[in-house]
Every structure is written in structure tokens, then in C-alpha cells.
């Protein structure tokens, strides 16, 4: 089943085109890495998917009309008011908002769920601290808990690990990987770190105002369009992505490079 189907999406800010006729589909259960240079329209694209920007042209179909309760979104960084009197626990609990109606009363079960999610994302110990007093990495773990709390069908992440150290990044991706494999959660991740994400992503999208490539990791590795787009950087990217089973093209380049280095 496709969770997202986009047809000929274009978008412009003050007359400047940032997306041009982008068409793609996002299959359920995939982990898609959305890559592209700064200003390539990645964030605009996900904001259109999330409904944070109005669609100017094209067609965008989501798996249901009102996906809020099945959709998780995590940004690179948020900037709440400096004096915002909210504890980390209250921020996580906020994630259940889309599942509530009327006066939105949270019951004991909800509170338990929030605490458990904080344990899962390793932020339980600072649950009673004010969110604004936490470090960038701690804040990001709290926000991840908020994103995951209602078990979303689709999680959209916009460079979410920028504030994390390497160990935290690893555990962050491991947790997402577990959700992806065990609960069939679909992940769409904007990243610049292809090396890191190559281990987890099943699909890739390359965007530079227009869609350069969209397909599986295997297709990405052997794509002519990708090679043409990245030019001399292709080998570098493929080296990072190299995996014996799924990426034969870089393996060849990789071995060749090593052989020539050794010969020297």
C-alpha cells in the first residue's frame, strides 16, 4: 500500500521555484532517506506532505483524509518560548493530543504510556525538568518520545540527529529501525549523512528542486541518474553506502580503489 502519492508537485516562494513537478510514491513499511543539497526543496516537500504549507500545484494523496493521529513529525530543532513552563513529561504527553476529543482529558493509561515512552527513548530521568532547561540532545530525545507516543504509521524526520552525539545517534536510529522492522512503521528522513543512514534506509529519494531519483537502495546504487547527478562524488557516496549484498556497483568501485591504493 502507498501511504503517499505525489503527482507533479510544484512550489514557489515569492516567484522563486523550489519544487518542480515532483512525483513519487511512498510505500508502507519503507525507510526512505530524502537527500539533496541545501535549498533543494526537501523541507518544503515534507511541509507540503504535513499540510504546513498549502499545495500550489499538483496532487498529493495521503493514505487517509485526516492522518494526524497516525503521523509523527520531528524537526531538527524547535524554538519554544524561553520561559515556557512545560516539563519534559508534559511535552511527551502532548503527543497524544491528536488522539483526544472534546476537553481532551488524559487518563492514567495515557500518563503510563508517556512514562514508558520516555523510558524507551532514554529521557525518563529528566521527566520533571523544564524542557527549556534541557540540553539540545536531551530535548531531541523528549521530542522523539512525543513523536512516537501514538505509534504513528508514518514518521517524518527533518535532520533529527544534528544535536545528538554519535552514540545517541546510533541508538536513535536503532530505535527507529526496530519500529520500522517490528511495527512496519514507515519512515521518511531528511538527512545529509548518507554514511550513517545507508545502514538503515531501504529507499532513497534525491531531490534538487526536481526529483533526481526515487527508488530502492539497490536501484540507487546502480542508477545512472544518481551517478550523473553526483558526478565525481558518486564514488564517495557509494563507498559510504557500500554493503556486500545490496550495492554491487560501489563494491566494484570500492575494491578497485583499494586495489589501486595498495598497489601504490
Amino acid at each position: 500500500m502507498n501511504l503517499i502519492e505525489a503527482k507533479n508537485i510544484s512550489h514557489a516562494y515569492r516567484g522563486q521555484q523550489v519544487l518542480s513537478k515532483v512525483s513519487f510514491s511512498l510505500k508502507e513499511g519503507t525507510w526512505t532517506a530524502l537527500i539533496g543539497p541545501n535549498g533543494s526543496g526537501k523541507t518544503t516537500l515534507i511541509k507540503l506532505i504535513l499540510g504546513l504549507l498549502p499545495l500550489q500545484s499538483g496532487r498529493l494523496t495521503l493514505w487517509q483524509k485526516n492522518p494526524a493521529s497516525e503521523l509523527g513529525y520531528l524537526e531538527q530543532k524547535i524554538t519554544p518560548p524561553r520561559l515556557m513552563p512545560l516539563t519534559a513529561f508534559e511535552v511527551v504527553k502532548m503527543g497524544l493530543l491528536s488522539t483526544k476529543k472534546g476537553f481532551k482529558i488524559f487518563n492514567k493509561e495515557d500518563l503510563k504510556t508517556a512514562l514508558n515512552m520516555m523510558r524507551t527513548t532514554n529521557c525518563f530521568k529528566y521527566r520533571n525538568k523544564l524542557f527549556t532547561e534541557l540540553s539540545g540532545g536531551q530535548q531531541q530525545r523528549v521530542l522523539l518520545a512525543r513523536t512516537l507516543i501514538n505509534k504513528p504509521k508514518l514518521i517524518i524526520l527533518d535532520e533529527p540527529t544534528t544535536a545528538l552525539d554519535s552514540t545517541s545517534r546510533e541508538s536513535f536510529f536503532e530505535l527507529l529501525s526496530k519500529l520500522n522492522k517490528e511495527q512496519n512503521t514507515t519512515i521518511l528522513l531528511i538527512t545529509h549523512d548518507i554514511a550513517e543512514i545507508g545502514k538503515y534506509a531501504t529507499d532513497f529519494m534525491v531531490l534538487d528542486k526536481e526529483l533526481i531519483f526515487s527508488g530502492t537502495k539497490e536501484e540507487f546504487c546502480s542508477s545512472e541518474a544518481v551517478a550523473n547527478y553526483f558526478g565525481s562524488y558518486t564514488q564517495h557516496i557509494m563507498d559510504h553506502l557500500h554493503s556486500e549484498e545490496s550495492c554491487p556497483f560501489p563494491a566494484h568501485i570500492h575494491n578497485h580503489e583499494h586495489a589501486s591504493t595498495e598497489a601504490k
Binding site: L50, G51, A68, I78, F103, K104
Partner: protein, 274 residues
């Protein structure tokens, strides 16, 4: 003079009741405005209120009831202007504010200049609050409690992270409009307590003091309400006792509470470092 003599006057009780109701809705709504960095909204809309009040005097109708739609319409104008990417939000507030004062002064001049009644609206005169105005304040206080209770989680989420609130399905445009229109109504009714010149302080100062000490959102709302209510009671008492303008005394007490809290916080911080 007996310091408790004032409590034997019925108009004092009416002023206290009206003032407390005003304190409730200004402090509750003010907390969201302060955190959303919309404090200046109160200032701009109070200046617009000058136009409304002046129209009231010119047409010889109730100034407060004329100011109400004028200020609400201006609030909607501010929303429209701030949505226009070509004008910054603070500039939009400045534009509306300037328009409000300029028109207000011209209409006031046409209405016969600055008489005692108009001065009452400029600087507040809670002691002259009428029964109809107390009733209006009561309606607004109840409505603000309902609004905040019903949309509490949405308002908190929007204040904290508007993008998240939108993706969680919150109709942020509707709630923002509701909050701003409601703020406009609150400002008009609060004019009676502290006047056009000081009404924004009633919206800004109590939440600012509460934010210094509260460790949760609910506590912030409660403290803000308590500080505002205390300032109304003490303000009426001292202004009557010392024969001073009530609006100014109310605001000075609010500021005193804020400065005491800041001072104590600073002293604690110093002691901790030492």
C-alpha cells in the same frame, strides 16, 4: 480616616468585583499572549480603543460598547496584516497602533476635546464601573475560563510548537483568531480598570511575574491570576486610602510584585553561587 471605612461603600464592592473579574480574564489570556510574543498586541489594541471610545463620545453612545466592535475589527485587521509576508508582525502592530491613536485624537477633538469622561478612559476609573459593565466583565471572565479549559491542550501545544500542533490536527488559525478576538474584548472591558494608557500592563505584568516562579503551565495561569487579583484589591484599597488614581496604583502594585520576585530570585541565585 478608618482604614476599613471604604468597605462600607457599595460602589467599592462593585469596583472590587468588576476588578477581580477583569483580573481573571486579562491574566489568563495575557499568559498566552506573553508566551506567544504577542504582548504588544495589547498595547496596539488599547490605542485603537481610543478611537472606539472617542466615537462613543462623538455619537453620544456608550463608549465601551462602541469600542468593543472597533477593537475586535482591528484585531482581525492585525491578523490579516501579520499573515501578509510583506509586513512584519511588530510593524503591523505599530501601524494599527498609530492609526488608532491618530484617529482617536481627531475624533476626540471633534467630540469636544479631552473632557473628564475621556480622561477616565485614558487613565482608568474602576470606582465608577457600572453594573452593566460588571455584568459584561462577568460574561467575559466565564467565557475566558470556558475557552481556556476547552482549548487548553491546543493552546499549550500551539504556544510551545505551532508546527507540531498543526500536524497533530489542531486548527491553529481558528484558535489563534479566537484568542486574538477574545483578547480584543478583554482589553476593551479592562479599560475601565486601568485605562487605555496602562491596560497592556495588566495583560503583560502578572503573567511575566508568574513565569518567574511557576514550574508548570497550570501553575503559571494560577499565579498570574492570583497576582492580578491581589493587585486589584490592594490597588483599590490604597488608591482610595491615599487618594491616588486607581489604575496607576493597580499597575504599580503589579510591578512591585514582579520586582520583588525578580529580586528574590536574584538573591537566591547569588547565594547559590556563593
Amino acid at each position: 480616616m478608618n482604614p476599613f471605612e471604604l468597605f462600607s461603600y457599595s460602589f467599592i464592592w462593585q469596583a472590587i468585583l468588576g476588578g477581580l473579574l477583569i483580573a481573571i480574564f486579562t491574566s489568563l489570556i495575557g499568559t498566552f499572549l506573553v508566551l506567544k510574543r504577542l504582548s504588544l498586541m495589547g498595547d496596539s489594541l488599547s490605542h485603537v480603543a481610543l478611537s472606539g471610545v472617542s466615537i462613543g463620545f462623538l455619537t453620544k453612545t456608550s463608549p465601551l460598547f462602541v469600542a468593543l466592535p472597533v477593537v475586535i475589527l482591528s484585531a482581525l485587521g492585525i491578523i490579516k496584516l501579520t499573515k501578509n509576508e510583506k509586513i512584519y508582525a511588530d510593524s503591523a502592530l505599530g501601524i494599527i497602533s498609530a492609526l488608532g491613536i491618530a484617529l482617536g485624537l481627531i475624533i476626540a477633538a471633534l467630540a469636544g476635546g479631552f473632557n473628564v469622561d475621556l480622561m477616565g478612559f485614558l487613565f482608568g476609573s474602576i470606582l465608577t464601573i457600572s453594573q452593566a459593565e460588571v455584568l459584561l466583565a462577568a460574561v467575559l471572565a466565564v467565557l475566558s475560563l470556558i475557552l481556556i479549559s476547552y482549548y487548553y491542550h491546543e493552546l499549550v501545544a500551539m504556544t510551545f510548537d505551532e508546527n507540531f500542533a498543526k500536524t497533530a490536527g489542531v486548527n491553529t488559525d481558528k484558535i489563534n483568531t479566537l484568542l486574538i478576538v477574545f483578547s480584543a474584548a478583554c482589553i476593551v472591558i479592562a479599560l475601565k480598570a486601568v485605562g487605555i494608557m496602562l491596560v497592556s500592563a495588566l495583560i503583560i505584568v502578572p503573567p511575566s511575574a508568574a513565569l518567574q516562579i511557576a514550574n508548570s503551565f497550570k501553575k503559571t495561569l494560577i499565579y498570574s491570576c492570583l497576582f492580578s487579583c491581589s493587585s486589584i484589591i490592594l490597588g483599590i484599597y490604597f488608591s482610595f486610602l491615599l487618594n491616588l488614581p486607581s489604575g496607576a496604583v493597580i499597575i504599580l502594585i503589579n510591578l512591585l510584585i514582579l520586582f520583588i520576585i525578580l529580586g528574590v530570585k536574584y538573591a537566591f541565585k547569588k547565594r547559590k553561587i556563593a
